[in-house]
């Protein structure tokens, strides 16, 4: 194993080759059983197929990739050294401020684009649908961000609250005829209730135990949904869930007696796109409300307490803070937001089944929060957009989606353990920044 060289200095060509050779060798060993050999079904019995060509190609790719990676890393280090030797690097503070400004500007641009999108793509069903999906994930990400990003409680079963919201709306609407707007707050409250119910007994647990128990909770909810057929429809799920209406106006071709449709009321020709665009704006509004709500909470005592809890729980207790209540509030609010997203999801799909609420979904939402930069609201938008769009752009890569996903989670953690946007903006300043602050200083 001494052949692996992790030199602090730049490597010589021979060292690089040896290093890449070793990595390729490991790749070969790992590749033999999974890539080089595979079993296929031949007439009801398994037979072994060899794919040594593919294995050779993979090993070659690993070799080349490792060479490139080492070379790239060395280059980057040299450039960094050169820059620091040249002197006068911007202070960390200034850089952070610059980054913050860029993020703010990008945020406004993203908002503008989000509002304008259906106007430009008013007849493109695919684009509006995909954008709606992105927004659902953004909203889920913002909800989970409260729990994981701000309060630092690792929740691997977030999808349970999403499911609670979705099933609450589905059951309330199909069984009791509730409308979307009536069911929305009730379902959110139910999800929050589940959050507290789960949270209360387990919040004493240390971080990683908490993670496993929340994962278990998510699975319990799913198993119950699959097996309790009378209640949830079992694996078949619940279908024909009513869609939300626009202040009582349905998005249908024709209205029942005495009612009007959306198209009829506004004197438009009926188009199925109306409903899609309405749903898009609906989730946009829900997401923006979520954002406003969470950003505001962050600057309130409860939000600061969440962050303090993430930083040091024992210090929190020494400051007289009731950490149980603080954790519960984070769990409940995160769960409530997940519940809202679930209601929207059910209303948009018109059909839900336990398939939509697996651990993979929890992992995706968690990845969005972590990749974005824990606690960063804009990071969530960035990560959600990337994670939904990348597989959409390369439809051929659809089956590689989760594979890339897992690899990206590992790589981004190694490259940037703090996430893509890891800058944290203080919730309050004594000396305000920027021109206003400078002017005040000057006036003194």
């Amino acid at each position: 194993m001494s052949t692996v060289v992790f030199a602090r200095h730049a490597m010589t060509a021979a060292e690089r080759l040896r290093d890449a050779g070793w990595v390729a060798f490991v790749g070969f060993i790992l590749g033999v059983p999974l890539i080089g050999l595979t079993t296929v079904d031949v007439g009801g019995r398994l037979a072994v197929n060899t794919r040594f060509g593919l294995l050779a190609a993979t090993v070659a790719a690993v070799f080349a990739g490792r060479l490139l990676l080492r070379w790239g890393l060395d280059q980057a280090r040299e450039r960094k050294q050169a820059r620091s030797a040249a002197g006068a690097p911007a202070s960390a503070d200034e850089r952070a401020q610059g980054a913050q400004k860029v993020v703010t500007v990008l945020g406004w641009i993203a908002l503008g684009a989000a509002v304008a999108l259906p106007i430009f793509y008013s007849d493109n069903r695919y684009v509006v649908d995909t954008a709606t999906t992105v927004l659902i994930y953004v909203m889920l990400g913002w909800g989970l961000n409260v729990v994981v990003g701000l309060a630092g409680l690792l929740d691997l079963g977030y999808v349970a609250f999403y499911a609670v919201g979705a099933y609450s709306y589905a059951l309330l609407s199909t069984q009791y005829g509730w409308s979307f707007w009536e069911a929305l707050p009730v379902s959110g409250a139910l999800a929050a209730g589940f959050g507290i119910l789960l949270g209360y007994p387990i919040l004493r647990l240390r971080g990683d135990y908490l993670a496993i128990v929340t994962l278990g909770f998510g699975e319990i909810i799913r198993v119950i949904l699959v097996n309790w057929t009378e209640f949830s429809g079992g694996p078949n799920g619940i279908s024909s869930i009513p869609r939300p209406s626009f202040f009582g106006l349905d998005f249908a071709r024709s209205a029942p007696e005495g009612e009007q449709t959306f198209a009829g009321f506004f004197g438009l020709d009926f188009s199925p796109m109306h409903r899609l665009i309405f749903l898009y704006y609906l989730i946009l509004v829900l997401a923006l409300l979520t954002h406003a709500f969470v950003s505001r909470l962050r600057k309130l005592p409860v939000g600061r307490a969440w962050e303090a809890l993430r930083e040091d729980e024992i210090a929190c207790r020494a400051m007289g803070m009731n950490t149980t209540n603080i954790k519960l509030s984070a769990f409940a609010i995160g769960a409530m937001l997940g519940g809202f997203a679930g209601v929207f999801f059910a209303a948009r799909q018109g059909f839900i089944s336990p398939e939509s609420f697996t651990f993979a979904e929890s992992a995706i939402i968690l990845a969005i929060v972590v990749l974005g930069g824990m606690g960063s609201q804009m990071g969530v938008v960035l990560a959600a957009t990337l994670l939904v769009l990348i597989p959409e752009f390369g439809r051929n890569f659809a089956e590689y989606r989760m594979l890339l996903f897992g690899a990206a989670m590992v790589l981004i953690m190694i490259w940037k353990p703090g996430g893509l946007l890891s800058h944290r903006e203080p919730t309050v300043r004594l000396n305000p920044l920027g021109r206003a602050g400078a002017a005040r200083e000057a006036a003194r």
Binding site: D93, F293, R296, L297, L300, P301, V302, R304, A305, E307, A308, E311, D312, I314, A315, C316, R317, A318, M319, G320, M321, N322, T323, R424, P426, T427, V428, R429, L430, N431, L433
Partner: protein, 288 residues
Amino acid sequence: MNAAALNTPATLLSVQKLTMRFGGLVAIDDLSLDVPAASITGIIGPNGAGKTTLFNCLTGFYKPTTGSLRLAHPQHGEMRLEALPSHRVARDAQVVRTFQNIRLFPKMTVLENLIVAQHNVLQRASKFSIAGLLGLPGYRQAEQEAIERAATWLKRLRLEHLADHAAGALPYGIQRRIEIARALCVDPVLLCLDEPAAGLNPRESAELNALLLYLCRELGIAILLIEHDMSVVMNVSDHIGVISYGRKIAEGTPEQVRNDPEVVKAYLGEDDDEDAQDTAVTTGGATA
């Protein structure tokens, strides 16, 4: 504080027959100690004597095996600290501590650290966050007051210029000061400082002395002080308790403690005298 009160100090905290066992290990053994109001009480003792364990029992982090901790709270009357969970010790009994290995909220700014310390006041003002979410004037005023209070302490500890810096990125000595400032924002009746001078240079130690005296003499905050730096303990303490192997072996004024044969024995051992604490005790005595 008038002179009469100082002469006959009322007892603020009374530790009685405190014992703390971890499995077979007896960390504190039948310890009794009185902490007078509006005074500085030093706790010294060799490493592993049980000083920090005493703090942990006092502030609700450990539940004592037996014994009682009675606090004569100026507003709420007698309180039994051993029955309270840690957050209520700080919130209701107003017994606030710092930590031997500094525990700030590292990614939050210094100002935020101090505002988090006022969580309970602000949380009440925010009325379950509803007043806060709506930005009602009552809450806004409370927040403004919290900021001003924090700013006052920052100014007092000469940390004002660092208010908007992330606390975790600052030098060690400054972090110690921030931790004290943060504890003061909780509005303590009794302030428990766990080795506040550890890692400070002589000038910083001298500043610490001045601060402790100010807090006690001017503001009437009682201070319980664990410290190895004898130049701090001997100079500021009104009263010193010495602990060794979980037992109190001596108690009295700095002068009495310094000359107590038991104390010398605890620090130096029976026979050998190569311990570094030796120099600490004698130099402390010389400067006192």
